[in-house]
Amino acid sequence: MKTALTIYVFVQLFSLKGFSQEIILKPIENTTPYFSFEEWIYSNSNWGYDSYGLTNFEPHSSLFSGSLEAAPKVFINGSFYNSEWLTNDLETIPNYPIEIIDSVVIKQNSQFNRGFFTPNGSIEIFTKNTDRFLTLNKSLVNEINDPGPHLSSDLETVNIDAINYNESVIISYPEFLNSKFVYSRDRFSYTNRLVYDRELNYFRFNRASSRRPDGQPRMPRNIEQEFSLLNQINAGSFTINTRAFFIYSPERYTWYPLTGIEIPAKHKQFQVSGIIKPVNSSSFRQSQFTFSHSSADSLEGTTVPTYGIDETSLSHSSSFGFPTDNGQVSLHLNNNVIIWDDKVTGNTQDIHDANLIIGFQKNDIQNLKAIIGNHTLGLEYERKANQLLSYNISTTRRNLDGNGYNFNLWNNGLGFAHLNKENHTVTNNSNFINTYSISEINSGLSKKKYQLNGSFFLKHYWQYVHTDTDYRFKDSGLQLDSDITYSDLNNVGFVGYRFFAKYNPVPKTFLKTSFSGHLLRYGSEQFINSVRNLSYFLFSQSIQYRADENAVFEIQFRYVSPRDIIEFEPLENNPIFTTAHVRPIYLLNATAKMWVIDRSLALTLALRNLLNSTESYNTNGQYYNMSISVGASIALRKTS
């Protein structure tokens, strides 16, 4: 019977009936608090991730974690969010408080989405339409095992008074340009940087490398502030959605494990984006403009420069549609300018890219597109054979620096992609190409009581060129140098899977399961060694019980299999520094959340990582410790 049921579920899942490849996350289903919006997204979907710090989450979508190539593309209220700024490749998603979110739609398969090719999927964030309200959030995250009153005694270690202080303010004021203002501030310390070994009586790593004038260690605390302003303006027969975003980190410490050095810097990014759309149908569909300026600067107040990089970009896209007797003709125009300026090396680099896409669509069944640009030439044909099956053929030649072409053949159920990708970084000023294929089976099923979503994928690289660009200090002084490692590999790949399910078996009880990982890696020994850090699987199960609409209890279990961290390998033979492996993580969270005063005040008590052992205090590379988080929100008027 059980086997028959299992077969039935799999047949249903892959029969393509009620086809659904999207995972939709609703904050209303959320109880357990998270360190950041990114963690909420990655841990509630079936996207694997690594996390060495509290606020950095590295999605596993491609071969290497922490790579922009691996990151999904992000859209906020329909407009593209430029997450690829500078070398800050982990800052992929604004840290929005969950109170402003309506839903997050996750598409994990390779596809064209909103005019962008998204080889590693996309994350679309939609904010709520609300009445006028003010929300204040405050939470505290802490760990166990700090010395406390013993700090001056034999333990000789350093207290972290709290890991993360998080505050946010949201103001929604529809009367003035339908405005939403969001301010959030995180003040966090890296944990487990100080590792005092009682046996050796030695500090293995120093999480408090910064010193006070009297020589006592000082705990560096990273400060990150984000400001967002979202507006919707109704101007006659047009609506204009604007989004301004500013990140300011006056103190940011990037920790380098091999040297134990934390480099302080200021980070800034300003991005403003606007979409204009007609209210009624017309030939003009929409235009989007985005301006972005980013800088990372350690020059101020230092006698010897370490680094200082500026990036400025301007992009535009416009779409038009013209109905004819035989179908719909569309025009899409986009252009993009990016300029980099490295103040230390004096290097500058810029890219100018412009494309015209002409499309013809017939009866929602056939879609033909031609792409003509200064670096790109392509043709794409899509046909939906029936409700259950569609296929897409496209070919694109990109010629940014005399190299590159792009060819795709895929449909929603089974696909194949062949992509050359050009990367440009300020630090190495180089171009390199990855040529790979993606085969995917994606399918899902949505019913009233449950949602199932599954995919298997194969990524085969005919040519894979990976670069690691790192910073190191020259022996002669505190001047930044680039340390670039290239690995050029042929015929390598891996097989992976993702599974996600939500179900509501009995009233008041909700279950959520996700499971993802890699089944197989193949290729040269160099490749196998170089991707060891991605040999993982992640399992997550949550059970939520709603005693009342204002009282929710949730138990969540996560398991992340052990991985190696390549960066720590040189420590293997070091008698002083321990090798840091990311050990298996057994994570159990218990959360109680209640709302009072017409849901205007929310109180959350969460105990995280109940399965963690105290031993983690003496290791490096894990932050998983027991923590407590208390949050409250006050609204002037109930949100819709």
């Binding site: 010395p147 013993h150 008074d161 005693a547 027991m626």
Partner: protein
């Protein structure tokens, strides 16, 4: 004797507000040899919740050093509470509960001011005998507390207090909900 009928009352139908004082004993030698702990002064708030009694506690007590090698500390302890009535007979009852909270300690000596502030998680298991006299409740405070510092603190609390019981009108209940 053992009743289930009173385990769950209408949420927020009443509140109990109280104060108490308790003698605190720390069991761990590494702490006991360095510090004396003063008596704890506590503020209590309780209300019926969906599955029992919920509440908040604030406790204040100090660590007084026994030598000049260690510093004095003050501590303020914030906790949330969930309790269940396990015995009820006329005006006498016993409530057993669990506290989850944070102990915040501060060094009071300038000599030890380096990273002097610390917040640490604790759990307490409590048994609270109660005697109801009109709207007043006399109660005993028996608690075992574990603070999750690197070297754990295990403490016993033994004390007594008084609470005032206030029945909330329907409109205030509705407002809270």
């Amino acid at each position: 004797m053992f009743t289930c009928s009173k385990l769950v009352a209408q949420p927020f139908s009443s509140v109990d507000i109280g104060i108490s004082t308790s003698k605190v004993n720390i069991l761990d030698e590494s702490y006991a040899s360095r510090w004396n702990l003063t008596s704890a002064k506590s503020f209590n708030f309780r209300t019926p919740f969906y599955i029992g009694t919920a509440g908040l506690n604030i406790d204040l007590f100090d660590y007084e050093s026994k030598s000049d090698q260690v510093s004095d500390f003050s501590s303020i302890n914030f906790s949330s509470y969930l309790g269940f009535r396990i015995f009820d007979h006329k005006d006498i009852s016993i409530v057993s509960g669990l506290f989850v909270g944070i102990q915040k300690t501060d060094t009071e000596d300038d000599q030890f001011d380096f990273n002097a502030e610390e917040r640490e998680l604790y759990f307490s298991f409590s048994v609270e005998p109660q005697l109801r006299i009109g709207n007043f409740i006399l109660f005993g405070d028996i608690q075992h507390r574990k603070v999750f510092n690197y070297y754990r603190q295990n403490m016993w609390f033994l004390g007594a207090g008084i609470k005032f019981h206030i029945k909330l009108p329907k409109n205030i209940q509705s407002f809270i909900e």
